[in-house]
Symmetry: C2
Subunit: 129 residues, 2 copies
DNA sequence: ATTTGATTCTATAGTTACTATAGAGTCTGT
DNA sequence: ACAGACTCTATAGTAACTATAGAATCAAAT
């Protein structure tokens, strides 16, 4: 299949697919006579792997590492575990930040009845302090 | 004061301060004979306002709008309220995403006892599906 | 008066993960 | 033979910074 079809099947945009290729996340595909990229179902699987990782917010760099690891099936998977744990820690950290952020935003929102002038606005006041 | 002092007092890096200036978030400061930026306490307050907004993850563009609004003290503050509400909605959305993400990561982490080969690794398996 | 070290200046490039565009070439259907 | 759809490469843009190079300026010590 050509890149358009791969794009539809995978849900990744054509540019994203070409970008992943440039970044070394996808193997260089065979080309047609006219230099069009030609993919098989294995390539689609590779791309779906990348997409799944991205949906977990794993960085392209880490995905690259995961792919390398996948190609060494006999080795220990402890680095894989470490990577996921690290990802979890990152998510936890961001959630904590967001909770604090939400609390302050809510407090600010309640500090202004919305029918004030800007001069009297509780939100602007709290941002100023 | 010069930019180094402003940087220390505000906690923003020198480059960030210059960047904010370029982006129109800070007024162009006076310059010394040797062309060094010279700031007063008002400039520090401006910068602290920006920093506070950034800590709430408000975009530079929105901060610019807030600054414009601040300069019209007699107008209604409803746009300020709308902006904060929108920011809250954004935070809520991201929190929801993160919760889903965390759940999947946790499930994955528990799918592998960490002492497997990569071939048998539950994490890689679940990423592959 | 000079020199050293710290600070500042501008302009430019790099970061992440894409998205968008221009301009050219290729393929398919009529 | 030609229109329209698809693809190609190369390049620039996005957000919010951070980092660098190379030059100029300043303050303090000699």
């Amino acid at each position: 299949m050509k890149i358009g079809e791969l794009s539809k099947k995978s849900g990744c945009s054509i540019q994203t697919i070409r970008y992943y290729e440039r970044e070394g996340l996808l193997l260089n595909p065979n080309r047609s006579e006219g230099n069009f990229r030609l993919y098989d179902s294995k390539a689609l699987k590779q791309l779906e792997f990348v997409k799944h990782c991205r949906s977990l917010d794993i960085s392209l760099n880490d995905i690259k590492r995961l792919i390398e690891l996948k190609n060494k099936p006999e080795e220990s998977c402890s680095s894989v575990n470490a990577l996921i744990d690290q990802q979890l820690a990152l998510v936890n950290k961001r959630m904590k930040e967001l909770r604090a952020l939400k609390a302050e935003l809510q407090q600010m929102a309640s500090a202004c009845g919305s029918n004030n002038t800007i001069e009297a606005c509780g939100i602007i006041k709290s941002l100023d302090s």
